[in-house]
Amino acid sequence: MKRLHLERLANPQLLALAAVLLINWILFPNFFRITWQDGRLFGSAIDVLNRGAPVAILAIGMTGVIATKGVDLSVGAIMAVCGAVAATMVVAGYPTPIAVIAALGVGVVCGLWNGFLVAVLDIQPIIATLVLMVAGRGIAQLITEGYIVTFNDPTLIFIGTGSLLGFPMAAVIALVLMILVTLVVKRTAIGLFIQAIGVNRSAASLAGINSRMLLMLVYGLSGFCAAIAGILVAADIRGADANNSGLWLELDAILAVVIGGTSLLGGKFSIPLAVVGAIIIQAMNTGILVSGFRPEFNLIVKAGMIILILMLQSPLVGSAIGFFRRDDKRVVSK
């Protein structure tokens, strides 16, 4: 059993993360230097966790969606909407908890709307979520009336920039959410049902799985995650920017999920590995930034890194190396 656990650590995602961190360390020897200051940890590595949190949170919801053979393009726009809701409400004088709950509720409603289009009206997910991807920014602008709504609410700001046990709040929230969602999915039958729908929706429905309800749940969760990410981003800059909040982050989230080994064709999925994927992406971003390269390099290096990681996951390369094939050889004990 021990051996099995060790082998499980040798998955492509963690190896890739180690490689990225190693390169960062070589290019910028101070990468892992962490200091304690004002009751919290500071350093580039901590920064990776903090900056990577929004995409990691999006990736948690996106994993479920992609596992059902869907995709959610609207999460960036939902972030903007929910950030706008939270910001305008605290500015209008509502108590912070009410504003946060309202923003989360709006995110869930947006997600359920996507779920309705996909599950009930049977619209292809890429088109169904494109609707809100486009319309969401408009809605966010209507809410903020075209301005960047800034606020000074201390509770909200604490959610974005505070710390718990020295770790940035955003990272703590992402970690807690990851653990919660993973536990729910693993401890209930929901994980199995999500996989079944992703592998073969008609067979799953014939086997008695309520695929509509499950798709609503999955898209609703994605909306909920986007709402959390939206609140975090708004709280971080102390303002809701309808135009730029969460812009293109849906693509990073999809990428994180794919790096995490969940196939766009649906089926087997892993939420923790998708979070690792998000951290890999952020580690690259931060690495390029702190090691003094021009930010323009960022996109190109990112693309090269993605190709490398995806190649490691390709069955062809995997069998050529023979190293990552770990599950086929186990013999069942009778």
């Binding site: 039958a189 067979a203 086997a207």
Partner: protein
Amino acid sequence: MADTHYVLEARGIMKIFGNHVALDNIDFGLKAGEVHALLGENGAGKSTLIKILTGAYQPDGGGIYVDGAQVSLDNPLHAQTFGIGTVYQEVNLLPNRSVAENLFLGHQPLRFGFVNFRKMEADARVILKNYDLNIDPSSELGSHSVAVQQIVAIARAVQLSGKVLILDEPTASLDRNEVERLFEVVLGLKARGLAIIFITHFLDQVFAISDRVTVLRNGKLIETRALDALSRTDVVRLMLGKDIAFSGATDVEPSEAPNEVLLEFKGYGRKRSVLPFDLTIHKGEVVGVAGLLGSGRTEVARIMFGADPADQGTVRVNGQPTAIRKATDAIKHGFGFCPEDRKAEGILGDLSVRENIVIALQGKLGWFKALNRDEQMEIAGRFGESMDIRAASLDMPVKLLSGGNQQKVILSRWLATDPAFLILDEPTRGIDVGAHAEIVRTINRLRDEGMAMLVISSELDEVVAYSSRIVVMRDREMVAELRGKNINPGVIVQAIANNPDEAVA
């Protein structure tokens, strides 16, 4: 006219896929001015032959002759230049373009290099008149009924080729009036001297318009005959290869006092799918369903299970009226369903054997009463053993198993839910002999344990062997119910072929 003059002829056609002989030395001749039905069950080689006649496939042996001269057809477009056109079951046109554009797509009348719409629509009007179609050529094709679209497709094929017309199940999605409309068109073309090949699963339609019939079975030519010398029974016998003198009386005792009634379907049906039927199913009874492919067998199974909900009629389970609108409703009442298309609707290919077996039970338990891994292993292991599922590991993806083992997995999936009523659609199709025997054994065992079953199968010997009763489907209608000691494949063949007097044994 000499009988030997064929517009289109195939001699000694061979087609081999891998080491499977799809067509074995087929001779086929088509005369001008005839409607020639091409019949055979699935896998008999009909579509392979059609693909060779239209140039989509190249034969591995033999030759194709048009008006007596040997030709080689490179592709369907090339076949068109020899006058051979095809209309498929699904209309292969552009629904969002006008009727006229569809008629002339690819060879529109041009003027200064631009499409001359006025001439095109005028020409289209002339063509449509030939078919008694009074529609506006500039209207969108998709705005018309499937039947009209089908006629437009025929008109286009005739316009382009004009000598041989191949109709591949053109009536599959039409209702009765529409079929008649289509037949008028076909008979009109026949009168104009076209040679027409007609492929369908509906025997009535064969007898309604065909002059001759060619029957294929397992890639071999069985017979080409003039239809007026044949009865329906003869045709069914040719297709299924069953000798009418076959003696295979059922070994099931006809229970004079049957067990309690489990299910009562009354006037149960679905538009464009199955005509309303009445059927009562008792506990401990296997109801066999016989009928040709496309007769509505699978549709009956699907509406019973709620996969396609019924839109008329009522169902009682244990005497209680209820509604089965979707699969989960059916499962709640203890139904299980092994679909015909294992790969598309049965297995969850990438998931493990274990997950495939527990999925229906877990679906019944709901989201929160999750079976843990050990429980799953226990259930999967139990059925793996009792059903003799040959898998290297219960954790391997089910898609790596053989067809027979996949079928056992799906059967196990339902047995795990402890069903009261099991619907099996072609449970033994395409599986090896060993698995076949195992599944037949299981059906017998479950019946003896008191489970009710509905089993659809093309294997008549097999249906006879395990069924307590047999219902016969023809043209989407439940036409006969056979019971008693004297059920044998011959009787079923007669019932399929519509011989009501002889059918009641």
